[in-house]
């Protein structure tokens, strides 16, 4: 049961990473501000600028 719980938590963490939710949480923590549409827009403008300058694999 413990292994299953650990496995589920890792899978969820991977999904959150792929969804940039971990990155957004870090952004909120660094800037010490609550979640809001304005803050998310600020996060998107910084994060996407870097993310979509890199090649995607074939």
């Amino acid at each position: 049961m413990k292994t299953l719980r650990l496995f589920t938590s890792v899978v969820l963490a991977i999904l959150r990473e792929l969804a940039d939710q971990n990155a957004y949480d870090r952004h909120l923590k660094i800037h010490a501000c609550p979640n809001s549409p304005e803050e998310y827009r600020r996060f998107q403008s910084v994060h996407f600028k870097a993310k979509y300058q890199r090649a995607k694999c074939c």
Binding site: I14, L18, R26, Y52, Q53, A55, C58
Partner: protein, 677 residues
Amino acid sequence: MRHLISAGFGIIGAVVLAGIAINRGEPVNSMWLVVASVCIYIFAYRVYASWIAVTVMALDDNRATPAERLRNGHDYEPTNKWIVFGHHFAAIAGPGPLVGPTLAAQFGYLPGTLWIIIGAVLGGCVQDFVILFCSIRRDGKSLGQMAREEIGRVGGFTALVTVLLIMIILLAVVALVVVNALKGSPWGTFTIAATMPIAVFMGLYLRYFRPGKVLEISVIGFGLVIGSIFAGEWVAQSAVWAPWFTLSGVTLALCVIVYGFAASALPVWLLLAPRDYLSTFVKLGVVIMLGIGILFVQPQLQMPALTRFIDGTGPVFAGNVFPFCFITIACGAISGFHSLISSGTTPKMIARESHALPVGYGSMLLESFVAIMAIISACVLDPGVYFAVNSPAGVVGATAEAAVQTISAWGFPVTAAQMAALAKSVGEETLFYRTGGAPSLALGMAHIFSKSGGGERLLAFWYHFAIMFEALFILTIIDAGTRVGRFMLQDLMGHFYKPLGRTSWMPGVVGSSAAVVLAWGFFLYQGVIDPLGGINSLWPLFGIANQLLAIIALCLCTTVLVKMNGAKYIWIPLLPMAWLVTVTFTSALMKIFSAQPRIGFISAAEGLEKLAVQTDATRTLIFNNYLDAFLCGLFLVLVSTILIDSVRQWIGLLNGSRQPRSTETPFVQSTLTPEEI
């Protein structure tokens, strides 16, 4: 005990693989391929990769990684190794490991399977692992930056130009795969068209309604995409709507070109990013589903181990098994493009040096297994059906009767009635001449999924689900790739006229987006009007370019290992590199100079020039063939430049005339606690 278990896996893998390779004349179950590959992967990981990690690269967990030293909460962030593994695998897994093995199945299942397993273990995984290690030791620098510092300025510039050219060919060839899968298919076209408003809805939802709730909206988006597959069936059967979504290859190509331009110029959050999230989750989900499906169904392989087409007369693409099998399957065995990912985001997330082993080597093993699943999916189809779907009209004949007659005469019996019934069962008008690999892969996957649950009545749903899955993430590559190509072009053009280098200057954005779209759009159009199906010329060109990039990456690996250990371990990257040099240079020279018009670009152009009647279409084909020959030659010149530069450097380092200058960052003690990762 650990060594005994590893040896056991190695022996089982080798025996099963030898059994598959040697035994003939009896049906082979796909599980043999699964067991052989998994056992060899485990052996390679536990023995070869671990040895490289400990002895050759001396990974040191006491050494702080860039993620720790340069931690900024954005790109540099120490992350749990399994999260980095998932992130890295999602980044390297594209359509390549699915489409390449499907096309190479024309040689039979054996050549592709052997290349995927051996190529990955000795080549692809080593390249990804060593490049990741090099980047970790150099503050997470990119391949281009490292090539410039380690090999020289010429190497760095050549790598940049090569990547841009490869990107253009890659975008054209994957766009062609989508166009060939969707032409004349209102169901598929509607489903893919529907993903665009769905992505825009997701973008608006995230931006204005529920900021940051990406997983939540991805679940909603996935539900809507599944709904669009069901709606697609209704559209295909509607006398009013079906004609709107029944498009020719040329019209679809124009739609994809316009889409690529719009996606590159529109704000990322509106279309590209939500689509990227959706395609990443669908991709991972389908790969897992396919693995479970194969284990559950355990299908028999219908394709023989070797077909008559190893002699180079194959209808899917022309060329002998050597060297063409080895450039057709790139991403499943070794892909130069992976080196860009291994020196991109991943090294900035690695918390401990030892994590480079599962992330770099392990992710590529999993990618290789995806390629094995793709070859299984292609080979469970009846060979006659496989060739009927994948052969262009220019090779098998322009009517269904002519096509089945030609294919049956090759020894792969198939009838027009059988193809018509199959097309009807998947909700398509016809399945003939669907070159590019995607439709036959979708058929194989639908076959496996329907046997796992739902039976024959769900075949049409699964077929269009598989087409949607392939097209969804190929289109994501097109829009993201066009954007990246735009940035690279702006970077280059900024040297000549400063404002062009600014990514916020609108004329520069529009102009460079248009230039990149027109470049890959030109090759896409060329592929669509090609009577041999386009894949015959474009996929080898892409394969050659991709493998040449792998040569550049392996040159860098060799240079770094020579600087670290002298000649002692030089064979580790040199072995796959020597093979790739042989394979790519042979195939590139054949593609340029072969006297057979189906293989050689120049002989194809000369053959067309001799025709008595010269139409505009003929003149376009002649020009395209000369252009392809030029491009192939250019790739060879670019990579030869790096190769010669590197060999000079290795000789100098080994005979002492050149001093090894390390560009590694100095050792800093790690202070990360286990709780932090």
